[in-house]
C-alpha cells in the first residue's frame, strides 16, 4: 500500500449529507422527522387558535373535503376542530415528552453504566441489580402508580418514562465498557499514564456514543408509543393538553361512524416511529468508521 491510500476526507457535515443521500429510505425518514420537528417547534404558535376553536357545524366532518380550506383535509373531530391542525399542534407535546424522557434516561443510564463498567466488581453488581429491579417492575404499571400519586403532567410523565428506560442505556453502556476497557488502545493509554477520568471520557465514551445514539433513536420511538398508551388509558396527558396518543383515545368512541378521528394521529405515530427506526439503522452504519464506507458511494478508491 502506498501513500495514495491516505487521502483527504471531506468535512463532517458534507460527509454525513452524502451518506444520507446514499440511503434513500433514511433520507425520507430524516426529511419526515424534520417536518415533525418543525411542526413541534412552530405549530402551536402558528395555528394554535385554529386547532382549539370549536365549530359545531363541522362536527366529525369527513376527510378529503377541500372546500373549507387545507386544514380540513383530514376532516374534523367531534367538536368540529380540524384534525390536521390538531395533529400539528399535538406534535409539540408528543415530541417534547419523548425527547425529555430519552434525554433523561440516556444521561442517567449512561453515567451509571460507565460507573458500573469501570468501577470495581461490587459497585457494578449493585447497579446492575438496581437495573434488574426496574426491568422486572412492569413499566406501564410503574407509570400508572406514580402518575396516580403525583398527578398526570408533562413533567411527571417525562420522569416516569425516563425511569423505566434507564436500564436500556445502563446495560448497553456497561457491556460496552467492559469490552472496551480490555482493548489494546485503552491499555496503551494506561501505559502512557492516563488517569481513569481521561480513559473513561476520552477513550471509552466516544466508542460507546454511536451505539447509544442508535439506541436512543430507537428508544425515542418506543417512548412515543409508551406515552401514547398511557394517554390512551387516560392516565397520561389530560385535556385540554393534547398528544397524538390522546387524540386516538378521544376518537375511539366515534370509530363506527368517524374512523378518521383515530386513524390520522395513529398514522402520524406510525410514520414517526418508522422513520426513527429507519434512521437508527442508518446511524448504526454511518457512525461506525469501519462500516461507513458502505454508504460512501464515491470517494477513496484504495481503502
Amino acid at each position: 500500500m502506498t501513500d495514495t491510500t491516505v487521502m483527504d476526507e471531506p468535512g463532517a457535515l458534507r460527509r454525513y449529507a452524502r451518506m444520507l443521500w446514499a440511503d434513500k429510505f433514511a433520507l425520507c425518514a430524516a426529511i419526515f422527522l424534520l417536518v415533525v420537528l418543525l411542526m413541534a417547534l412552530f405549530g402551536p404558535a402558528l395555528i394554535g387558535d385554529l386547532a382549539t376553536k370549536q365549530n359545531l357545524r363541522g362536527r366529525n366532518a369527513p376527510p378529503f373535503d377541500l372546500s373549507r380550506g387545507w386544514v380540513w383535509v383530514m376532516g374534523a373531530d367531534a367538536l368540529g376542530r380540524p384534525l390536521l391542525a390538531r395533529i400539528i399542534v399535538a406534535a409539540q407535546n408528543t415530541v417534547l415528552i419523548a425527547a425529555g424522557a430519552v434525554l433523561g434516561s440516556a444521561i442517567i443510564g449512561t453515567t451509571l453504566g460507565l460507573v458500573a463498567g469501570y468501577a470495581g466488581r461490587r459497585t457494578g453488581e449493585v447497579i446492575m441489580r438496581l437495573a434488574d429491579i426496574i426491568m422486572s417492575f412492569p413499566s406501564l404499571l410503574l407509570a400508572v402508580v406514580v402518575l396516580y400519586i403525583l398527578g398526570p403532567s408533562v413533567a411527571n410523565l417525562v420522569i416516569v418514562l425516563a425511569i423505566t428506560r434507564i436500564p436500556v442505556y445502563l446495560r448497553t453502556t456497561r457491556a460496552e465498557v467492559l469490552e472496551i476497557r480490555e482493548r489494546m488502545f485503552v491499555q496503551a493509554a494506561q501505559v502512557m499514564g492516563a488517569p481513569s477520568r481521561r480513559i473513561l471520557f476520552r477513550h471509552i465514551l466516544p466508542v460507546v456514543v454511536p451505539t447509544l445514539v442508535t439506541i436512543a433513536t430507537l428508544d425515542f420511538a418506543f417512548v412515543m408509543l409508551a406515552e401514547s398508551s398511557l394517554s390512551f388509558l387516560g392516565i397520561g396527558i389530560q385535556p385540554p393538553e393534547i398528544t397524538w396518543g390522546l387524540m386516538i383515545a378521544q376518537g375511539k368512541q366515534y370509530l363506527a361512524n368517524a374512523w378518521w378521528l383515530s386513524f390520522w394521529p395513529g398514522l402520524a405515530i406510525i410514520l414517526t416511529t418508522l422513520s426513527l427506526n429507519l434512521l437508527s439503522n442508518w446511524l448504526r452504519i454511518a457512525l461506525d468508521p469501519v462500516q461507513r464506507w458502505r454508504l460512501e458511494m464515491r470517494g477513496r478508491k484504495n481503502d
Partner: protein, 303 residues
C-alpha cells in the same frame, strides 16, 4: 452448567427481593396508606379501623416483617372489591394472560425465526419485503392497530367479536394485535444474527464439506444465531406476562394487565400487590428457562 444456572438464579432472586422491598415502600412512603387503600369518601372512623386492622400504626420495620411473612404464605389479604382472597383473583386472571402470552409467543417465535432466517439466506426481494414489514410491525402502536382491527373486522365486516374469551374467534384479534410488535422486532434480530452466522467461518467449512443448503441454514447457522434471539424472545415474553394492559383493556380480556389497571383505579391495592408479585415470580421463572435454553444451545456456557 449447574453453577452457571445457580449463579443466574441467585442474581434473579436478588432482583425479586429488591422488587418486594420496592413495592412495600412504594405503598407506604407515598403518604397516608389509607388514602391509597381506601376509597376517597372513606370516613375518619373507617380509616382508623383500617389502620388498626392492618397494623399500620406499628413501626415501619414491624410492618415490613408482617408483610414479608404474609408474602411467604402467598397471603395478600382479601380483594377489597370482590371479597375474595386477592391471590385467587390474581391467579385466575394470570391464567388467562399466560394462555394469551403462550399462544402469541409460540406463533411469533416460529414464524419470526423462519422468516428472519429465510430473509438472511435468500436476500433480494424477499429480504427487502420482510425487512420493511418487520420495521413497520415494530413501529406500529398496538392499541391503534387494535381499534382499527375492531373497526374493520368487528364493526364493518362483523366477522369477529369485539370482546370476551368465549370461543376461538374471540382470541383471533387480541393474538393478532399482540403478535405484530414482537414479530417485527424478532424478525429483525433473527435476520441480523443469521447474516452474521451465515458469513461466519464455520459455515464456510460446512460449504467446503459439501453440506446441503438446508442443513447449513437450519443446523449450522441457526443454532448459533439463536443466542441473541433468545434474549429478545425473553424480553418480549416478559412484556406479555406483565399483562398487555392496553390490549386487554380494549378487548375486555380478563387478564392480569386489565386486572391491575382496574384495581388501581378502584384502589384495590391488595390485588395490585398480589398481581405484581405473581407476574414478577413468573418472569423470574421464565428467566431461568431462558438461561437453561442458553446453556442447552451453547456448550461454551455449559463448561
Amino acid at each position: 452448567m449447574l453453577t452457571f444456572l445457580r449463579k443466574r438464579a441467585v442474581g434473579s432472586l436478588i432482583s425479586l427481593i429488591g422488587l418486594v422491598v420496592l413495592v412495600f415502600f412504594l405503598s407506604r412512603l407515598t403518604g397516608d396508606p389509607t388514602a391509597l387503600f381506601l376509597p376517597v369518601d372513606a370516613t375518619v372512623e373507617m380509616r382508623e379501623q383500617f389502620r388498626a386492622l392492618h397494623g399500620l400504626n406499628d413501626p415501619l420495620l414491624v410492618q415490613f416483617g408482617h408483610y414479608v411473612r404474609d408474602l411467604l404464605h402467598l397471603d395478600f389479604g382479601d380483594s377489597l372489591r370482590k371479597a375474595r382472597p386477592a391471590i385467587e383473583v390474581v391467579t385466575e386472571a394470570f391464567a388467562w394472560t399466560l394462555q394469551l402470552a403462550l399462544i402469541t409467543m409460540s406463533i411469533v417465535t416460529i414464524l419470526a425465526i423462519i422468516i428472519g432466517a429465510l430473509a438472511a439466506w435468500r436476500g433480494g426481494l424477499f429480504d427487502r419485503v420482510a425487512s420493511i414489514l418487520s420495521l413497520i410491525g415494530a413501529s406500529a402502536p398496538d392499541f391503534w392497530v387494535a381499534i382499527v382491527g375492531i373497526v374493520i373486522f368487528s364493526v364493518s365486516l362483523g366477522w369477529l367479536p369485539t370482546s370476551g374469551t368465549g370461543t376461538v374467534w374471540h382470541w383471533i384479534l387480541p393474538v393478532a394485535v399482540l403478535f405484530i410488535r414482537p414479530f417485527g422486532l424478532i424478525v429483525q434480530v433473527v435476520r441480523g444474527a443469521m447474516m452474521t452466522a451465515l458469513s461466519s467461518a464455520y459455515v464456510k467449512t460446512a460449504r467446503a464439506k459439501g453440506v446441503r443448503a438446508r442443513p447449513i441454514i437450519f443446523v449450522h447457522a441457526l443454532r448459533n444465531a439463536m443466542l441473541p434471539v433468545i434474549t429478545v424472545i425473553g424480553d418480549q415474553a416478559a412484556a406479555l406476562l406483565n399483562g398487555a394492559v392496553v390490549i386487554e383493556t380494549i378487548f375486555g380480556f380478563p387478564g392480569v394487565g386489565k386486572l391491575m389497571i382496574d384495581s388501581i383505579l378502584q384502589r384495590d391495592f391488595n390485588v395490585v400487590m398480589a398481581a405484581i408479585m405473581v407476574t414478577a415470580l413468573a418472569i423470574f421463572l421464565m428467566n431461568v428457562l431462558i438461561d437453561i435454553a442458553y446453556a442447552l444451545l451453547d456448550p461454551r456456557i455449559r463448561h
